[in-house]
């Protein structure tokens, strides 16, 4: 590993972003979409998705990998948006109230997720993923059977005809793009939702500030080595739970921002794919399971969503089948995650094996006595 060519190492480190840059370079001209259209699409998606993806950063810092449990936060956001729609609170006050109410729900969900993940150390990602699927059932129980029965819903328009349970799609016209349209700028034909971007910028500042706090430092220590963290007196389990709670709360806000832009809520599907797409985008931006930064988020959104916009068109132009491009983008979403996770796991395994070899050499050297000890020291 030591002797690895630095150029090769960089190529492997940034394999996914490089692949995507090439993909964009090939597919964007093929799609025949205009630069202005593309720029508008990407700007809209940047505003729509960045907050959600930023919510993933803090658990990475705490060494818990990609937070597949962010879906729980998204669910909290959705539940609250259904209530807000029922209460007919519109515009910015609606969004603010939604964020306010979703906070305690997301804290409860996040706490639950954190406790579960603490019981599955070393398997956080697969457990988080399954937790998301599990909570999807709980979400259905609440929204499909609880709402209108246990939780009072007065607006007949969002209820199923049987009298309880929420419809498959809800029109969020009350809050549709109210944040995006608050301050809107037209820059060379590109619509820029300034207010949304300001909120995202504020979150970035929060994350930068948070990293420097005592808690942020603790999280990094926990992320690097739980045993060391424990010996310096950090409550490892609590720190990990806090990181997941923060992530879940941010994800619920992110989902509210996402949905105010979309304008409709697919009651039972919106959250399912959110986790996959956000994680894929972050990985495309060059992040790994152990390291993710704010630039990764933005590079990721831009690259991933450009490919997303152009691939159906490129598929249609190239093979005459738009459905193919549709399947292709699902494939790259999953493929990117599989590839990045495998690459990371492979590296970690190689490192572990090197470490073991080194330990064995030190051990052998120690057995050989004085000369060996000298060798061991020289090796350091």
């Amino acid at each position: 590993m030591k002797a690895m060519n630095p150029v090769l190492k960089a190529l492997i480190d940034y394999a996914v972003p490089i692949m995507f840059i090439l993909l964009v370079a090939v597919a964007a001209p093929l799609s025949g979409l205009s630069v202005e259209f593309l720029a508008n699409e990407v700007m809209m998606r940047l505003a729509r998705n960045s907050f959600l993806i930023l919510s993933l950063l803090i658990p990475v810092m705490a060494g818990m990998g990609m937070n597949f449990g962010m879906v729980l936060g998204a669910m909290a956001g959705e539940i609250v948006l259904i209530l807000i729609t029922d209460w007919r609170i519109v515009g910015i006050p609606g969004i603010l109230l939604a964020m306010l109410i979703s906070t305690p729900i997301a804290i409860v969900f996040g706490y639950f997720a954190g406790v579960v993940l603490n019981k599955a150390k070393g398997r956080e990602m697969v457990t988080g993923l399954m937790l998301g699927f599990f909570m999807n059932g709980v979400y259905q129980l609440i929204v499909l059977y609880g709402m209108g029965k246990v939780i009072p819903i007065t607006n007949k328009e969002i209820l199923l005809t049987r009298g309880y349970g929420i419809r498959n799609a809800i029109n969020l016209e009350g809050i549709r793009q109210s944040l995006d349209n608050l301050i809107k700028l037209n820059l060379f034909g590109v619509q820029v939702p300034v207010a949304t971007l300001l909120v995202i910028a504020a979150l970035c500042l929060f994350i930068i500030w948070f990293r420097r706090t005592k808690l942020g430092q603790d999280m990094r220590t926990v992320g690097q080595d739980m045993d060391i963290a424990r010996t310096v007196g950090i409550d490892v389990d609590r720190t990990r739970v806090v990181s997941i709670v923060i992530s879940t709360v941010l994800a619920s806000y992110g989902m509210i921002i996402f949905l105010q832009n979309m304008g409709t809520l697919n009651t039972y599907n919106s959250h399912e794919q959110i986790g996959f797409f956000c994680i894929a985008a972050l990985l495309v931006g060059g992040a790994s399971v152990a390291k993710a930064s704010i630039p990764n988020v933005f590079l990721g959104v831009i690259l991933f969503h450009t490919v997303f916009v152009v691939s159906p068109r490129a598929g249609a132009q190239l093979i005459g089948e738009a459905q193919l491009g549709e399947y292709f983008r699902v494939f790259i979403t999953y493929g990117v995650i599989a590839f990045s996770l495998a690459l990371y796991a492979w590296r970690r395994k190689v490192e572990r094996e090197n470490e073991r070899k080194k330990q064995m050499m030190l051990h052998r050297a120690a057995l050989q006595g004085k000369g060996g000890a000298g060798f061991a020291q020289a090796d350091r």
Partner: protein, 348 residues
């Protein structure tokens, strides 16, 4: 007395006990809400025969320490290729069924071999990588089903004429070929698919016998203590690959057994989430991430399929609404989360 009770509970396992009691109570309530017990039993047996091989396919990988096979879809895909190709060749009856299995096994060996190499590279993170490998392969195959040059009019879209349909009937080919073999009818409501059950028993016996061979014991050693296995001169990586190939081949056979019973081949996103019910079933049967016995497969498949059969009919009759899908999601995924949060016991 209390300690004895606790010992019994921990012996059976709390989740299994709860689910078992739930299932028994469903059977007790059933007649009172107008659900026939005999048809219910029939359904449970039929579903067991349909799914048991898929559950069984998880065993080799758990034994070798590769964890729960979240990439089960790889084997399923091999099975789908086998089934679709056999239909394309217009092979009917036993010939078609055997051809489907032969082709499926061929692809499963190749897929399993590559998949095994990958899993060896990511030791310690097999499950999360496997999940996404499974998802990616299913979505890649979505593209392939559209572009592969299959021509049989029974399988391609009626209009347009290119690409395979999402569901393909095997009615005219090898529908119920196992189920109807030596079928026993008890009264007018219970049909025992003897052939499918015997086939499962045969496959289970092969696994049981395999773990008594030299390679089988080596596999167990690799699973329980890889360091020790290595020091005994076992080629750990090779043994793991063998286990992955076995699991993948069994999954491929499993999906064909499923299809002959169900009557349809489901392509595109059909297999996407197929690993979860199988995994939930084996965990429900008492397996853990790194420990499994054949009877876990049988108990798990019966309990899981029992719940799936009984909750829609009984619960729906009680509360007059269809909660079965939601209950299925909560039980199966909850079971997997529960198992993942158990501490891994290192066996001596």
């Amino acid at each position: 007395m209390k300690e004895k009770l606790q010992a019994v509970i921990s012996g059976i396992g709390l989740p299994r006990l709860l689910i078992g009691l739930f299932l028994v109570s469903l059977f007790v309530i059933a007649p009172f809400v107008g659900v026939r017990v005999d048809t219910s039993i029939n359904d449970v047996i039929a579903r067991f025969a349909m799914n048991a091989v898929l559950v069984l396919s998880l065993v080799p990988m758990i034994k070798s320490g590769c964890g729960l096979n979240f990439g089960l879809q790889l084997g399923v895909i091999a099975g789908l290729i086998g089934a679709v190709t056999s239909l394309e060749l217009k092979l009917i009856g036993l010939a078609g069924f055997l051809a489907a299995m032969g082709i499926a096994i061929f692809f499963a060996v190749i897929f399993g071999w590559l998949y095994g190499i990958l899993l060896n590279k990511v030791k310690g993170d097999e499950m999360v990588v496997a999940t996404y490998v499974g998802f990616s392969v299913v979505s890649l195959m979505c593209i392939m089903w559209l572009v592969l040059p299959y021509k049989s009019p029974d399988m391609i879209w009626a209009y347009g004429g290119s690409g395979l349909r999402t569901t393909i009937s095997v009615e005219d080919y090898w529908f119920h070929i196992l189920n109807d073999f030596l079928k026993i009818e008890l009264g007018s409501h219970i049909e025992i698919p003897t052939g499918a059950l015997l086939f499962f028993a045969l496959l289970a016996f092969i696994i049981w016998a395999f773990f008594r061979t030299k390679l089988g014991t080596a596999m167990e050693a690799v699973g329980s203590n890889p360091e020790y296995a290595r020091s005994c001169g076992i080629n750990v990586d090779r043994v793991r690959i063998v286990s992955v190939i076995m699991s993948t081949v069994y999954a491929a056979i499993g999906i064909i057994v499923y299809q002959q019973s169900f009557g349809f081949i489901q392509l595109y996103n059909g297999p996407l989430l197929m690993s979860f019910p199988a995994i939930a079933a084996i965990l429900l049967g008492g397996a853990s991430v790194n420990k499994v016995k054949i009877w876990n497969v049988v108990v798990g498949a019966v309990l899981f399929q029992g719940i799936l059969t009984m909750t829609p009919s009984v619960i729906n009759n009680i509360i007059q609404s269809d909660m079965s899908e939601t209950i299925r999601i909560i039980v199966s995924n909850g079971m997997i989360v529960y198992a993942l949060t158990r501490k891994m016991k290192v066996r001596a």
